[in-house]
Symmetry: C2
Subunit: 510 residues, 2 copies
């Protein structure tokens, strides 16, 4: 390798390292804003975040990065870089292209409009009035189409909507997703229909017995213990805090999750802690040799979601986990759950019931909610669906796929914040995550055939080790489709996930 190439590559990586460190500082300020900041601090915090974002944007779009990228890629010795170096260059280029292709006025206007639309969305949702929301959502869609058209060219993807998806799930197109989702929809509806009758009789009231917040905090710690998410030791690399909406943030040795505690709904925190810890383990388990490099990051939103859903559902709603964990919960809650047995409890936490709200959906119906959003946003960005026709289209699909009647737009098209805050192309990653999780499970089962009996005994170590080696440690070395191929030996496919669901729900509701 010639020294010019190496020197340019090193300069590029040095800048990347600075950006990564600054971005991680930014995350801490966000976390603090959500968890600890005194309420009056919000104006100052907005200015702090805006300033850091501006510095990060300047770093990302610095013409020097463009020059360095060209110098590296056009160097005659470029092919002498190893795969890791080439991937780093590719990732820096992708981000540089994404950051520089959009004119500044569009970026500024979009940020402004996203804030406005989110604000109006909250108000419109509160008063159940879509017509309030409509004109502001229209502006978002328009801005996103403009951005998508510019991004389409630089990314070389078939359609503008593909360019938006590519930001979150690189290399995955709407055509690929359409194929996956149309099969997935049919299979899920089949399983749903089969479960519906048996699930009607399930008594859900045990989930609403009062559990004091302090006991719920102890339950969260017990879950963290089981998963090996260290939040208490002198060498802890994690935290659990409380916010209205649970989230995970962090980088390598400082990763933090949040949850919410409702006295009369303890399972809400149980599954949110399982879910968020799934995310957290991924961020903590990235390849330590790649810290501060572009490849030292998660692969995509879909892969990230595969990890949270794996822990939340495949592990956290399994008979083996609850056989081990229900006694723990009994220990921590005194007499509250002494009458409960594992089979009954398992049915309550796996009840399948079509609902109107995505974030309350069970494992079988969840992806149907996501598929509806994908189908609608695809049409919106293609210009084949008007924002004004969105509620009608939404309600029809809910009727058709889930059999539920949407009575007002606040429980319908206005339930999620994503579109209001400019996240179009993001929803599909939720269902892709579930699909991937099924493929990873099928592969893991071959390597750790007795994983169920291990979990049954409260031992998650070998499963975790498998995920660390096969998923976490791959960082951002591959685009998600290639990662799935590398790990499972096959293309993205719904079959392992459907097999998993089919078998699980046959056993639960014979």
């Amino acid at each position: 390798m010639n020294s010019t190439l190496l020197s340019n590559y090193d300069q590029l990586m040095k800048r990347e390292k600075q950006a990564i460190i600054l971005d991680s500082a930014n995350s801490i300020l966000h976390w603090d804003m959500e968890t600890k900041m005194p309420p009056r601090g919000i104006t100052l915090r907005s200015l702090q975040l805006a300033q850091l974002t501006q510095i990060l944007h300047q770093t990302a779009t610095d013409p020097k990065v463009g020059r360095l990228l060209r110098a590296v890629r056009e160097n005659t010795d470029y092919t002498s870089l190893d795969n890791i170096q080439k991937r780093n260059v590719h990732l820096v280029k992708r981000r540089y292209d994404e950051a520089t292709i959009l004119p500044e006025e569009l970026v500024v206007e979009t940020a402004r409009q996203e804030a406005v639309t989110t604000d109006i969305w909250k108000k419109a949702k509160a008063v159940r009035n879509f017509s309030l929301f409509k004109p502001e959502l229209e502006k978002i869609v328009k801005l996103k189409i403009r951005a998508a058209e510019l991004l389409k060219d630089v990314k070389g993807v078939p359609t503008p909507y593909d360019a938006l998806i590519d930001i979150f799930e690189p290399g995955v197109t709407s055509a690929i997703i359409s194929d996956l989702f149309s099969d997935l929809r049919q299979s899920l509806i089949t399983i749903l229909k089969r479960c519906l009758h048996s699930c009607q009789a399930i008594d859900m009231t045990p989930l609403h017995r009062k559990v004091p917040i302090e006991a719920q905090r102890n339950i969260s710690n017990a879950i963290a213990d089981f998963l090996g998410y260290d939040v208490n030791s002198k060498n802890a690399g994690g935290r659990i805090d409380e916010t209205e909406h649970p989230f995970t943030t962090g980088y390598y040795d400082d990763v933090r999750i949040t949850t919410h505690y409702y006295e009369d709904n303890f399972s809400s925190s149980v599954f949110s802690v399982l879910h968020e810890t799934g995310h957290a383990l991924y961020d903590q388990g990235l390849n330590p040799q790649w810290q501060y490099q572009s490849i030292g990051a998660s692969c995509s939103l879909g892969i990230h979601e595969s990890q949270s859903r794996f822990v939340e559902n495949i592990i956290g709603r399994s008979p083996e986990f609850w056989t081990y964990f229900l006694p723990k919960i009994r220990e921590l809650t005194g007499p509250t759950f002494l009458d409960l047995n594992v089979p009954d409890f398992l049915r309550t936490v796996n009840v399948v019931r079509p609902s109107k709200i995505r974030i309350e959906a069970d494992e079988v119906t969840y992806c149907l909610h996501v598929i509806i959003r994908f189908e609608l946003e695809k049409e919106l960005i293609a210009g084949r669906l008007e924002v004004s026709d969105l509620p009608k289209a939404w309600n029809q699909k809910y009727k058709e796929y889930l059999g539920v009647e949407i009575e007002n737009d606040s429980e319908g098209v206005m339930q999620d914040t994503h579109w209001a805050s400019g996240l179009i192309g993001y929803f599909p990653t939720y269902a892709l995550g579930n699909i991937y999780s099924g493929q990873f499970l099928a592969t893991m089962e071959k390597a750790v055939p007795d994983w169920r009996s291990q979990v049954y005994k409260g031992d998650f170590k070998q499963v975790k080790q498998w995920i660390i080696e096969n998923v976490y440690c791959q960082g951002n070395l591959y685009d998600p489709r290639d990662l799935v191929q590398t790990i499972s030996g096959q293309e993205a496919s719904i079959h392992p996930y459907i097999n998993y669901l089919d078998q699980k729900y046959r056993e639960l509701y014979p």
Copy 2:
């Protein structure tokens, strides 16, 4: 005012605003490191802080700032700026001069050596071995002398040590301090001698009754309530957290204090919360019109300390406060303090006993500890005292001023971290703060003559309002000596403080 002047001034202020915002973000990261960060996060955090510090340093030393400063100050219309604008320019220039006069190699080497010396200090203190510490402290002193000589010229102060003091207490020289401190020392020793006999008999055991941490947290909240330091409401601008060493950080609407709780020493947290809240109220109470400007800051370390000591001692160790507050503590601690009466309790929290450790010292002896440090560091920087002779000189002065025998250097010259971490010129501000607090008290008493009866009733509002208007709202409009003159109508003087102590301790121990 001509438009070039205005435009240059505005550019200067815009940069200043950005620096202030970034600096406040930096403070949050520091706070998080001390209070919430998972232990493993320390390496990443060091990188984040280093990077922000580097950006802040680049901003502060940007040659554009120098050009803008010259353009503003040499503009023929400069005198048309109002006092606030001129003060802003002065403050920016002061910081620019301080930041640019030192060569980068000196700054880098000093930062490195401070880290090394602090590390060695911890180890040497643990094993009571000054000879371990000595060579590293010598390097610090050498580096500080080099910096002081450069700063002396740009600041136009008489001696290198004056230049170091000026960083923390602008406009105050070692000659001024020497005059104040030599009188202060005599007066304090006189009061000390008078108190010594009466204080011997005081029973200190009530302070060591067990108070559960949770009750101590409630006591802290009650103190915050009394002082109007809002940490709980929806509009709160403050927090109280826990760290080994209490501190205050923040800016305007986001100010945070920390304390420590020892089950068998509840008064430790009581007085640290009073002290830190004194600092916090100052930071919260700065003139809101000046936020994000240089003048929207505290005046000096000495003035800051005057506010913490005012709240901790003048208010927080007064008979009126404890008449009001002891019943509150009884409410929050069940039967623990039912047998205690206010006069007895007051004597325990105002006991005067010479000690070896500054941070444990009472109101009468505290400044003697500080004076010793001032006298020694003055000689060190002047080159008239060698580091190797420091322990002997230290021990002699402790014997002479406080009548105590230092038995090892860990309870002597190695007790504080300041010198190890490069803080030379800082100690005097602790005693100056006490002196100023006496002057402010004397002035406040004229405006709010019945303040004692108000505090007696648990009402701190009018006292606080007086401080807000007379101290906090002046921000950094004046150097400390001018601020004291403006508020009290007289130069810095020890007499009001000595009068306060004299009267208080005559009444306590007649």
